[in-house]
Point group: none
Chain length 199, copies 4
DNA sequence: TATGAATGAGTCTTCATTCAT
DNA sequence: AATGAATGAAGACTCATTCAT
């Protein structure tokens, strides 16, 4: 019962935050949508900001974990495959978590009170991606700073296309192949011996 | 006189929006910083939102124009140079306009009332980049959708690294070469005949 | 069982009312301190105000009764002794009931909803003291109004020193002798024939 | 204009605080009574508590100052006259400031957030009274602690009768003579050589 | 044009009380 | 008798905007 109500609040909040943004979503909107009284909200969350933090931190931790290569997840199948796999997986994760990622993208840095969440999230994701680069030796000879730049570049790339196609244009995974193909078309330096896009 | 006051408001607003965000910046903060009375603000702007729109639209139009290849700006010097030049130029533009671009990135989609500004801005930039791709035939054989995806990917890439290095880390243009080099290291498909990163 | 719970509530309430005051003490604080559920409170008291009234009225009635000269309690030992005894006894009663008297002093008139309790209490105490004055003929020739004034003056005097020494300064009965001596030093008209304090 | 509004708020607040108490008086009540908008209140006071503190501290400082014997205020006319004069003066001051003193008595210790005001006030008054006792050598041979006890006793005495006659019973200064006479009837040790109450 | 005092709708949050179990 | 989740009315405070001067 208790958990159900808490979940109902989170569900309503995510929906409304995405629709109207954090600032325009009132606590009264959330509880109305969740079908409960104003006071009930405060049984489960200390404040509106606490709700945001709770949800965001929880979801984002899951996303970072999902990105982390698990032992067998990325068997050494060669660089080309690896990168293609990583991009596809990341796009899928983005798609599955598009609601919270959208909210984060929209409010991450916009509200000083919750800016640290986004900052830490991007920091974590960057570390994971750098780790992958190192593990598969994707960018041999790169300094740590160069790896970091590359990681952020890739993250920005993925985030932007995911935002435009999954959120703005509202597509689903039917665009996955096309997006992955194009993104790999940009990321070809790991495949110096193969032909580029064209096949 | 009139123009000076208007400009002073814009200047203060940009500073404060970047420091504290749109929602946390009160009109009273702006006028206090600008050294004028509360009511004066409304002689120059219909509302707080109007101020944001005025500033954003104006700045963003300039940025889009700056990105547009002018007749002599991109002489046909070959694909390799072109892309390198575009990335450098864009990074420089981002650096020069980092304040407004930061604000836009932070509030673009966060506030429903001003979301359309960001949407239109990205749409315009995307068109310009697609135009460049077409003009120099960077991605031959690509459909329009593929070009759009590629354009957004490049924009996301640039925006993310610029944000991280120029805003978060606070670097200046001394990182330009390194950033450009790395970004070109990702974007190599336009240079099938040259060596990759080159080191 | 039932009585135990009720007493536990009263005990916790007195403690908390004294610590934090009536308004700052929440029903939830009381039940938490008493180790029971929120709803249990309302099995024993109609409301928070009802709790206050119940406790206050009960305690205060005891105090008034304690002040009343019982048949053998104040044997006619002469005026000097009488007054000294009354002051000592009253101070002791104040000390023993310092919790509720402190609460009453603090909230007596502060909260309109419970103001009548304090008003009635002081009225009763005044009557008792007047009765003592009459019984021992302490202020011969005084009109009823003068007696009432004197009674209130003595009550105010005792209450203030008791508050300052027993509550604010936190002393115990070790200051009783000194306080009584000083108070009697002020109240000397009842002893025209004896030496004053004894220096 | 500005001062007028601020004064109007104070005036309304004092009236309402006295009528209904601090906690039962809403900011909305105050501004309604003062005939202005809710927001106007916050132009002049940071919060409801700030209003209370501002008013209380200001008034109480005045009262303490008024109690302080000024050079010619208490010409050396002998102890008997002095004490009589002090009691009369204090009663008059209490009467003139009965509103704020009543509010202080009612809320002084009742609200933890403003308890320090009352504590400091009584501390100050005690010091002033002790100073008077010392100056006129009213209680020769008393230790400082005894003087402090006596001072608090006198303060409690005066406060209680003033509260009962000026506030509860609503009398004005027509009772001054009678009250002073009775209080002096209690305070006779300073006049060993004169007749007591005199009738 | 400039001022800044005044406005009041809007929002979060609290907490005494109720009620289904 | 006991629980504790749920309620919702109420109140302090904010801040974009207006307007008389």
């Amino acid at each position: 019962m208790a958990v159900e109500k808490r979940d109902k609040i989170i569900e309503s909040a995510l929906k409304l935050f995405e629709q109207k943004g954090y600032h325009s979503t009132k606590v009264s909107d959330i509880v109305k949508d969740a079908g409960m009284a104003q006071g009930t909200f405060y049984l489960y969350f200390k404040s509106k900001e606490d709700l945001f933090r709770s949800v965001a931190e929880e979801c984002l931790k899951e996303i970072v974990d999902a990105l982390k290569p698990e032992s067998d997840d990325h068997p050494d199948v060669g660089n080309g495959q690896m990168h293609d796999g990583l991009i596809r997986e990341t796009l899928i994760i983005y798609y599955q978590n598009r609601t919270i990622l959208n909210i984060l993208k929209r409010h991450g840095a916009a509200s000083p009170e919750i800016a640290d969440i986004a900052k830490q999230f991007y920091g974590n994701v960057c570390e994971v991606v750098k780790g992958i680069f190192k593990h598969y030796n994707v960018y041999p000879g790169y300094t740590d700073e160069q790896l970091e730049m590359t990681a952020y570049a890739e993250i920005g790339m993925l985030e932007m296309v995911a935002y435009q196609w999954f959120i703005e244009k509202g597509y689903g995974l039917e665009k996955l192949d096309l997006l992955a193909e194009v993104l790999i078309g940009i990321n070809v330096n790991c495949l110096p011996e193969t032909d580029v896009i064209g096949e």
